[in-house]
């Protein structure tokens, strides 16, 4: 291919490939074929955030999940992302957050801000449900994975609660 054309097509091709790789690493999508992943890429939204920019505040209605494509985000509590009360986690490339909002519009349980210049891939409930209406089999696969993920987190929370109670008893 002529260098001019390869230069034009290189960027979009790489970005597409990168999106496949990143999505296939997210547990909810890990068992999906490339063709199925393409459906999610079609409904995904790419957002770019400046350092310190708020992605969402705790208490805001949840609309969907985000996957970190580049950069880092801080999950925190408090009013100031530069000086948070508690930092729950720092997430980087391939990590995801806000996935429970794919199930309902319950308020966000923590605030999230970009730690540095960050690119996120957003997948949102309305688009997801429209996709499931068109491709119900794909919907079953993804929702099953999401249910497993929620179940595992519940088990971990129960374990942590038991450990806390035992520690209190001591």
């Amino acid at each position: 291919m002529h260098p001019m054309w390869s230069n034009i097509f290189k960027e979009s091709g790489n970005k597409g490939e990168n999106l496949y790789q990143i999505l296939s690493r997210v547990p909810i999508f890990e068992e999906l074929s490339k063709r199925e992943l393409r459906e999610f890429i079609r409904i995904s939204h790419k957002r770019t955030y400046k350092p310190g920019e708020i992605i969402f505040w705790k208490g805001e209605p949840g609309v969907g999940m985000y996957i970190v494509q580049h950069g880092e985000v801080t999950v925190f509590s408090g009013e100031n992302p530069q000086n948070p009360d508690i930092v729950f986690a720092t997430l980087s490339e391939g990590d995801f957050f806000g996935e429970l909002a794919l199930l309902d519009d319950a308020p966000r349980s923590a605030s999230v801000a970009a730690k540095e210049a960050t690119e996120l891939i957003g997948i949102f409930r309305p688009d997801l449900f429209s996709l499931f209406e068109r491709k119900p089999a794909l919907g079953v696969k993804v929702l099953l994975k999401l249910a497993q993920l929620v179940g595992e987190r519940l088990k971990l929370t129960n374990q942590a609660l038991e450990e806390c109670k035992q520690n209190e008893g001591k």
């Binding site: 790419k46 955030y49 708020i54 209605p61 068109r134 491709k135």
Partner: protein, 367 residues
């Protein structure tokens, strides 16, 4: 010391409130300017707006079929193409069957208008009206009233049929609609995505929700109304055929379409049939039967069809419905009257969502 601190705090709070108030004021003025600009654009590019609105209506109607074919494994582009091929064949076949009937009725109407003797058709009505209105007493009053009724009837009928004829002559302009519709269906999701891309991060989630809700509401409303209009149209055609009214197919179709306009629609649908019946016979009985038929159709529509096929839309106060229909009529004519209610319901959804957004997202803080 404590007092001065409290005073300082109260001044700071007041400043914050004033700042917030200015922000709300700024947003309100921007919103009003935006709506005003939108109305100006709609009025200025009237023809183009009508073509786009009609294309969007067809696109909304066909979208569930595209979704069904996609669920069967077809790509969106192929599903859209398949629908257009099948629809094109069906319309072609329908026109082949119905065109002689439609052109016959349209020709008959235009000849009837060109003959210039429309006023003479009311000649035999003069005596009947005088007889029926005899209770009024004074012959001058009866004569005046009769003349006015006749003039109004002639004017109404001429206006209505001229409108219908102009609609038919505009069909060639409407040939562009399938092209616009095709791209709206095929690239609709991509267009929405591009629109969302332009929204700043802070309003992103709120806008996504807003677009989704308005899209769904509009889709349900349009599909419901179209099916309702189709069924009412079929029932009206059958009723007028049984009552042996001229141009039954044409008037029945108008009745179906007019049914989409709340309150005014059923009247607009029945009046042409009554007017035509007046020109056909000097008896009052057909008018009574037409009134009965249209009342029964309205009952069937309100009790059986509407509750089942018309999706639950935003509840709008009847007075507001009348006002928006009149405004729609002023801006875009009959099409404006048709789209007035769905547009208002969409605006209500937008206002509700924006208020919800302001309450639940920290939008004002970020300004």
């Amino acid at each position: 010391m404590t007092d001065s601190k409290e005073k300082l705090l109260s001044i700071q709070m007041d400043r914050a409130e004033v700042h917030k108030l200015f922000q709300i004021l700024f947003l309100s003025v921007t919103a009003i300017l935006f709506i005003w600009a939108l109305i100006e654009i709609v009025v200025h590019f009237r023809e183009l707006t009508i073509l786009f609105v009609l294309s969007a209506l067809v696109a909304y109607l066909l979208d569930p079929v595209v979704a069904f074919l996609e669920a069967k494994g077809l790509s969106r582009a192929l599903a859209t193409l398949l629908i257009f091929v099948v629809l094109g064949a069906l319309i072609g076949w329908g026109l082949y069957i119905l065109l002689p009937k439609i052109t016959g009725q349209v020709n008959s109407i235009s000849k009837y208008l060109q003959s210039g003797n429309i006023k003479n058709l009311f000649g035999n009505w003069d005596a009947i009206l005088k007889e029926k209105l005899a209770f009024l007493g004074s012959p001058e009053t009866i004569q005046n009233l009769t003349t006015k009724i006749q003039a109004a009837l002639v004017q109404f009928q001429e206006g209505l049929f001229k409108l219908a004829l102009s609609l038919f002559s505009a069909l060639s302009d409407l040939a562009i609609i399938p092209f616009i519709t095709y791209f709206l269906i095929k690239d609709g999701p991509a267009m929405k995505k591009a629109l969302i891309k332009a929204v700043p991060n802070r309003y992103f989630e709120m806008s996504l929700n807003l677009i989704h809700k308005t899209d769904r509401q509009l889709g349900n409303y349009i599909r419901g109304q179209m099916i309702d209009a189709f069924l009412v149209g079929i029932l009206s055609i059958i009723a007028l055929f049984i009552l042996d009214i001229n141009y039954y197919f044409f008037i029945g179709s108008i009745a179906g379409l007019a049914n989409m306009i709340p309150y005014f629609g059923p009247i607009v649908g029945a009046v042409p049939a009554i007017v035509v019946s007046l020109t056909q016979t000097s008896s009052l009985m057909p008018i009574v039967w037409i009134a009965v038929a249209f009342t029964v159709i309205q009952l069937i529509d309100n009790v059986l069809i509407s509750p089942v096929v018309v999706a639950r839309s935003v509840e709008i106060h009847p007075l507001l419905v009348v006002v928006v229909i009149l405004i729609g009529g002023q801006l875009l004519g009959i099409l404006g009257m048709l789209i007035a209610v769905p547009t208002t319901s969409i605006l209500i959804v937008i206002v509700k969502e924006v208020i919800f957004g302001f309450k639940n997202y920290r939008i004002l803080d970020s300004l």
